[in-house]
Amino acid sequence: MTREQFISTIKREQEALMRFLLALCCGDHDDASDIAQETLIKAYIALDRYDEREQFAAWIRRIAYNTFINHRKKRQREATQPIEQARHIAGGQEADSKFDNEELHRALAALSHSERLAIVLHYIEGFKINEITQITGCSEAAVKKQLQRGREELKRRITR
């Protein structure tokens, strides 16, 4: 893939990638933007290793998820306050204004990273379970369990 092809692919993918990262970051725009930038440059550096038989969207999401995890670990090391508290302070002003999204973000924040990833990839991004196994490296049974647990938790947390 050439530089120009990479840029045009990113132009097509960036909105979906941002939506994916916003869901992972539970609505924190700043974090999602930082991770998106880091993901894209990592993808460009690793472009030689990209196997074109693989779906680009899945490949970039795998990089994005790993970057998200590293970002969270770094935050946890740096933060003196609990990460959940920090996230609410940082994300409060920038959080999405739509009530539904806010409620969903709050509920997503209660899930573990793996459950959140499985829910976002399957229900929001529309990836199939076997594609999720390739992105996360988890078995099909594990992904199904994460989806089931995640759904139950979301249903319990979201009220109407």
Binding site: R3, I7, I10, K11, Q14, E15, M18, R19, L22, A23, G27, H29, S33, A36, Q37, L40, I41, Y44, I45, D96, S97, K98, D100, N101, L104, I119, Y123, I124, R151, L154, K155, R156, I158, T159, R160
Partner: protein, 128 residues
């Protein structure tokens, strides 16, 4: 608590404000330029290293051949040096001293040549 349908609808309709994508692309292109610059530099360095390795290999082969010819023309070290030792290791070393010294000289010359090339590059960074 909501039911399955409501949750499915909520997840399906999830469409947050993702902001202006142009900023991301502009910033990405700027960073890509920097990455390309580093990649080009690394490729150039790798090319130089490969060239140096080839030169060193060729020079080593030529000098090794010259050493063999000279060593065969010279009298045997045992004819020049008289050593009264029974140690087979020492005897072996003395019999082959001209090869050992010659190999060491070649290694030093190649190492010096490599050092000289590196120093020249540091003095003229524009050429590298």
């Amino acid at each position: 608590m909501i039911n399955d349908n409501e949750l499915d609808n909520m997840l399906r309709d999830y469409n947050p404000e993702t902001g202006d994508g142009r900023d991301i692309i502009t910033d990405l292109e700027r960073r890509m330029d920097a990455v390309d610059m580093v990649k080009k530099y690394q490729a150039r360095q790798m090319g130089q290293l490969r060239l140096r390795a080839k030169i060193a290999f060729a020079a080593g082969m030529v000098m090794g051949c010259v050493l063999m010819i000279i060593a065969n023309l010279l009298p045997s070290p045992t004819e020049i040096i008289t050593v009264t030792t029974t140690s087979p290791l020492l005897n072996g070393l003395i019999e082959n001293i001209h090869y050992i010294l010659g190999s060491m000289c070649i290694m030093l010359m190649l190492y010096g040549g490599h050092g000289m090339m590196s120093a020249r590059e540091h003095m003229n960074p524009k050429n590298s």
